[in-house]
């Protein structure tokens, strides 16, 4: 036995053998490597930012909305988006942006009531103003709002809906349900998919066979029609929490198949690797191997699939809510806000009620971009 191999076996330095110089090399962890690769893709950074902004808007919706987001004011129904001016109607330039209030006027020709700008008084937009009281995160009472105008003025930058609610504030608030529901549903589906995928790949044999046939069967099912059918079965009278959980479970029911397959493939290849073999030889239990060794190694793939599943759920949720078989009042989601556009008459006169589409598109694009970048970054050891 040579000195080197003795050293390797015992881990003890052997006298008389030159010690290798260990450089204090900066060591990069897996997540640093992932981040480094992720950072290189500009599109995924943009996607991440889009998602982040929507999340912040949703959490602090009360702060970003100049009015009380739960307020209903039928007198200000369907006000068009208020234009932000710098130059008043007399042609004077103002450094501080301002808005004019809208007043109801009768069109002298058609006798139809229309909203017109009242140029007699200027309402300057101020930032970080005190406004209606709300509870930040549902806990801390606060009156601070990002922007607002003085008493008597209104500032509806995206206009109002039929019930006179500020579309901007409402859309921010709707993000809470749209985003959290899709996240919640996807997490359930991820849990289910990972468990089935790992079990299928790790145990193999008849368990694998049965689970694979089951996965194939669920994957072959038409998602949207079944979602619609199941969502329609959620009772209309159920309370908000039941509806939320019920809808999330319905979405989870059909989205886990992609993940189960991916995780199975990953586990199949990991099962034969040395470190799993070693763990087995040392007598580790199945549970320990699965939770300590296999699951962490599939986690990056799980996160990628999570990110790529969310947009599909957001789209499906908005469609179901739009049809009136998804989320119902008093909960609010982007799809439910779009429900007002079903009335083609109302839509024709108030085209701005289409704006929730923009929020949906930003969310879906953001998650797709993010997931795409993460997928490339998840495996940083692969040569590019």
């Amino acid at each position: 036995m040579t000195a080197e191999s003795a050293e390797i076996l015992t881990g003890q330095p052997i006298a008389g053998v030159a010690q290798p110089i260990v450089l204090d090399e900066a060591h990069e962890s897996y997540f640093q490597l992932v981040w480094r690769r992720f950072r290189r893709s500009r599109v995924s950074i943009i996607g991440g930012l889009m998602v982040l902004i929507l999340v912040i808007l949703a959490i602090f919706a009360d702060f970003f909305s100049p009015t009380d987001i739960s307020q209903i004011d039928l007198k200000s129904s369907f006000i068009p988006p208020q234009q932000v001016h710098f130059i008043d109607h007399e042609g004077n330039f103002h450094l501080r942006p301002f808005v004019y209030n809208y007043v109801y006027e009768l069109d002298p020709k058609t006798f139809r009531a229309i909203w017109a700008e009242d140029t007699s008084k200027i309402y300057e937009i101020h930032f970080f103003v005190q406004g209606p009281e709300y509870k930040l995160l549902g806990l801390f009472p606060s009156r601070l709002h990002l922007y607002g105008v003085e008493e008597g003025g209104t500032v509806y930058l995206l206009g109002t809906d039929k019930l006179g609610r500020d579309l901007w504030g409402k859309a921010c608030e709707a993000g809470r349900i749209s985003l959290s529901m899709s996240l919640f549903g996807t997490i359930i589906s991820i849990l289910f998919g990972s468990i089935l995928g790992i079990a299928s790949g790790y145990y193999g044999g008849w368990i694998d066979n049965v689970l694979q046939r089951f996965t194939e069967f669920v994957a072959a099912f038409p998602n949207l029609p079944l979602w619609m059918a199941l969502a329609a079965l959620v009772p209309k009278t159920a309370d908000s929490f039941t509806v939320f959980v019920g809808m999330a479970c319905i979405f989870a029911l059909l989205t886990w198949t992609t993940l189960a397959r991916e995780v199975r493939g990953k586990v199949l290849s990991l099962r034969e690797t040395d470190f799993i073999m070693a763990a087995k030889e040392m007598g580790a239990s199945d549970a320990r191997i699965i939770f300590r060794h296999l699951f962490p190694n599939t986690l990056s793939h799980v996160i990628v699939i999570l990110t790529l599943t969310i947009p599909g759920v957001i789209l499906a949720e908005s469609f179901l809510s739009f049809l009136g078989i998804g989320i119902t009042e008093p909960l609010i989601s982007w799809g439910l806000m779009m429900r007002n556009t079903q009335d083609i008459q109302a839509l024709g006169q108030n085209a701005w009620i289409l704006t929730p589409i923009a929020f949906i598109v930003v969310a879906v694009l953001g998650f797709n971009f993010l997931g795409d970048g993460l997928r490339d970054a998840a495996d940083p050891y692969a040569a590019k």
Binding site: P222, P225, P311, M338, I360, V364
Partner: protein, 331 residues
């Protein structure tokens, strides 16, 4: 190979039974049996209690609702297969089979048209952008593909409807033909008229398909273009277009064929979404209405039909792939 085909068909058959069971569960899941809901519907219409009772009992007998549930399932399947009887729809006062027969051909036509167009366009664009990897057009189409799959299809339908109605004053969207063509025999003008009515659905359902086909084709073609035989072809002095179209594309196409099974459900769902908003008389609006009215035999039967169509699409894709690509092993 014959073995493989037979096995695929047997698996598909078992899937079919599974889909049937799930559809039946959806029919059975709401509380109370179907006849009692029918009775409630009749009572709401002002019928007297006895008459409604009698009508409900008649329905129970006719559709075997008084038998145990597994027997009901077997009878339901038997009724569909032997007599085309899917169950009774009280909103339409007809058997669901009749309703499906009325609407299925047009739904299929639209879905297949959409499928064909989006495949051709998507594959064509894929072939166009792949050799221009990371060029301007490639990046542009990558972003467009992302957008096509990200815009909610129902909102696209609303926007198209909005523009058509308020900008172009084209009101006749809610049917397949303009009034003057409804009873006219098929002619070129009638086909043109049909396209005038269904193009929004084709566009809405097709965009996502174009995007997906484009991405898949681009990826495959890039893989193939890196292969050595392509280099050999280039070294022989063939023109680049010949290298791509004659040598690379045929070998990149088979994945597209396999992919069709995945795109089909996407098309069907796009058609479903768009047709509901645009009110075209296809299966989509019928399905939605039945869910709202709790006309549960329609919902269940249509669920079954959608499942069967997608299953058939997958099966066809698998089989044609087996025929087209001799490299696939059938063990």
């Amino acid at each position: 190979m014959l073995n493989y085909i037979l096995r695929r068909i047997v698996i598909a058959f078992f899937m079919l039974i599974g889909i049937g069971i799930v559809s039946f569960i959806v029919i059975k899941l709401p509380p109370g049996d179907y006849a009692s809901r029918y009775e409630g519907y009749l009572l709401a219409r002002g019928m007297s209690q006895e008459d409604a009772d009698r009508a409900a009992n008649l329905l129970r007998q006719q559709y075997d609702l008084d038998k145990p549930v597994p027997t009901q399932f077997v009878l339901w399947v038997k009724g569909m297969v032997t007599e085309g009887k899917f169950g009774y729809s009280f909103a339409y006062g007809k058997d669901v089979g009749v309703l499906i027969a009325e609407r299925l051909p047009m739904t299929l036509l639209i879905a297949l048209l959409c499928h064909a167009i989006s495949t051709i366009v998507g594959v064509g664009l894929g072939i166009y952008v792949a050799p221009r990897k990371y060029g301007f057009m490639d990046n542009l189409w990558a972003i467009l593909a992302f957008i096509f799959t990200s815009v909610p299809r129902f909102s696209l339908a609303i926007i198209i409807l909005f523009v058509l109605v308020f900008t172009f004053n084209q009101p006749s969207l809610l049917s397949f033909f303009s009034p003057e063509y409804v009873f006219a025999p098929w002619s070129f003008a009638k086909v043109v008229d049909l396209f005038k009515h269904i193009w929004p659905v084709l566009v809405i359902a097709g965009l996502g398909g174009v995007a997906r086909n484009l991405r898949v084709m681009r990826g495959n073609l890039l893989d193939v273009l890196g292969a050595q035989y392509v280099q050999t072809a280039r070294a022989k002095g063939l023109t680049e277009s010949k290298v791509i179209l004659k040598h690379a594309v045929p070998n990149a196409l088979h994945t597209i064929v396999a992919y069709q099974g995945t795109v089909l459900p996407y098309m069907m769902q796009g058609e479903l979404e768009a047709a509901i908003i645009l009110g075209l008389p296809t299966l989509g609006p019928l399905f939605y209405e039945s869910l709202v009215n709790q006309d549960i035999y329609i919902s269940g039967s249509l669920l079954l039909i959608y499942g069967v169509l997608i299953l058939a699409g997958n099966l066809l894709a698998d089989l044609s792939l087996a025929v087209l690509d001799p490299r696939i092993r059938y063990s």
